[in-house]
Symmetry: C2
Subunit: 393 residues, 2 copies
Amino acid sequence: MLNFVYYTPTKVVFGKGSEKETGKLIKEQGAKSVLIHYGSERVVKSGLIPEVERQLDELGIRHVKLGGVVANPHLGKVREGIELAKKNDVDFVLAVGGGSVIDSCKAICYGLADPDHDVWELFAHTRPAKACFPLGSILTIAAAGSEMSNSCVITNELTGEKRAYDDNLARPRFAVMNPEFTTTLPDYQTQSGCADIMMHTMERYFNNGGYMEITDALAEGLLRTVMKNAEILHKDPKNYEARAEVMWASSLAHNGLTGCGSDGGDWSVHLLEHEMGGMFNVTHGAGLAAIWSSWARYVMNDCLDRFVKYAVNVMGVEDSGDKQQVALEGIHKMEEFYHRIAMPINMRELGIEPTDRQIEEMADSCLRATGGGCGSARRLNRDDMITIYRKAR
Amino acid sequence: MLNFVYYTPTKVVFGKGSEKETGKLIKEQGAKSVLIHYGSERVVKSGLIPEVERQLDELGIRHVKLGGVVANPHLGKVREGIELAKKNDVDFVLAVGGGSVIDSCKAICYGLADPDHDVWELFAHTRPAKACFPLGSILTIAAAGSEMSNSCVITNELTGEKRAYDDNLARPRFAVMNPEFTTTLPDYQTQSGCADIMMHTMERYFNNGGYMEITDALAEGLLRTVMKNAEILHKDPKNYEARAEVMWASSLAHNGLTGCGSDGGDWSVHLLEHEMGGMFNVTHGAGLAAIWSSWARYVMNDCLDRFVKYAVNVMGVEDSGDKQQVALEGIHKMEEFYHRIAMPINMRELGIEPTDRQIEEMADSCLRATGGGCGSARRLNRDDMITIYRKAR
């Protein structure tokens, strides 16, 4: 095992009616003026945001709201949020939505804490953050895990660059998680969420750094639980218990728990997908599923023992002793699982057909984003990336 | 599943050399004057406390130290710590030791935050805490999980009462965890620690409230990992990897993770043991092991599905379909495990022989401590407690 730091200060208030605690949680943070940030108007029409506004009014806390965050959230909206928040002396930002909204909030909070610098510099990795305004969330989509994570991914809609910036400064102060809010999600979004949740832990699992048995045991248990409940939700989307299992898994899969003692993980699948998201605006989780098995078959011999362990402990493959065969069967069973929940296993099924030229552009952009390559299961160079993209077509 | 709050703000710095971060972590908390609190002089002679003092001197942070904390930590030492801290304008308390030292620190921090009231009132449950001074720890024993938990257990050495007070206010700010510090522990203490770690999760597992599949999966994975590594350490106490697995498990077993979605758990085994600890000053983890199987056989029919799940998923019992037989075999296998790591499975093996009168006294004291009974797997009254104590003799 490797040394690690584990830090998850986010207070989670989980279950039916938990949104009623929002005002109290914001007051605990000493907030005087809140930016309520969200995506679609669904959360206004459903009465959720009016309920939060009512709570804040009762507590004498000022508030202003800004909607319109899109999937693969835009830098332009972040800048709009920073300006609006400055005008209103905002000292706390509340996200109402999924990972895109929370990430947009995190970027706004970075911007507010350092108003003299352009916030995109963080995502271009030309400087680190020194501070971040406090934020919290009411989660309505189980997927990104941003509600407890240090991650933030923003797309520069002018250049098509989708870039991540990770920093503990942006760990949210609280997360209000009522699984009922996710029961109306379309199946495609639900299952994309499940694919994303699983991938956050799989990225950590497949690596050539250190391992801990306890971390593996937690990761494998989490993955088996998400798989089982994703299938339940595919047939029974209103199932509260299954929604709850998946929602709590979304936080645990990406708050650091399933990476303790490892080298941080591989993350190539995420990085390859970010380029697809930047170029084609695909749904993130579906994009991950579409590229995973091509990546897995390409790198598995460089990380064979981990693929065998995954096949046996997560996918239920019998350990015949033939490592190659067991690893391949595990990957194949994962593809079968993706198909059972109507997720794509290649780009055609995802609905995109990148040309050779576009694939080269994605690889070049990924190289720039990663400073020359990525991966721990196997370190990928430009040729590797192009090969994986092609195999995934 | 039931609604839950999950809150684990403690920053964990884990691994070899992590003690070198202590000064920096204390400085992050804005401390100006630190009480360094510990048990045996071993942590002074080993150079650990002098190293911390050197770091604090370098940072210009004042410090004073107080040793002498014993297992089942005494109220008298807590009072001594409060007085010493007041005299030195202490604004941060650092525990260097195991759960007893951390609990003594927590009680001191409660006392410092409310100097006008007697701190024992919290443990007598005649008032709740309003505040708590900040604390952190350098952990040297993996067992109690106090380094991340909201728990605090203090013994009033004048009355023999051992009482718990749980409050999120006392969650430590940081935990420095270097598994190397535990490699010199005697086997009895190591294995008592493993028994305690497992019991923190088992207490949550056996209940008649709500369940979450993901919580069960994490709990079962944690328990299997501790069992495996406890046996490794019984033969190879210097094994760093096994020490690390057990140390990280100690925190995860009691920080709330393995109870999410449940009714909070049973806790009768802990409460019954607290009376044994108060009367006979036994080692806590060994005391838990000594009473567990008597409790388990007595209550299993009131919580049979959970005992079956435990037997199959943790103890590896084949599910014959005969629930009673499977549950009993799980309990028996647990006793075999305790014996493999030289832990007692009854009071005789623990080295105590309470009289009938003493058993009645323990039951009466437990009734007082619990306000008339305890347990979720099965609610225990006075007669139940007496029966379990007698069966465990």
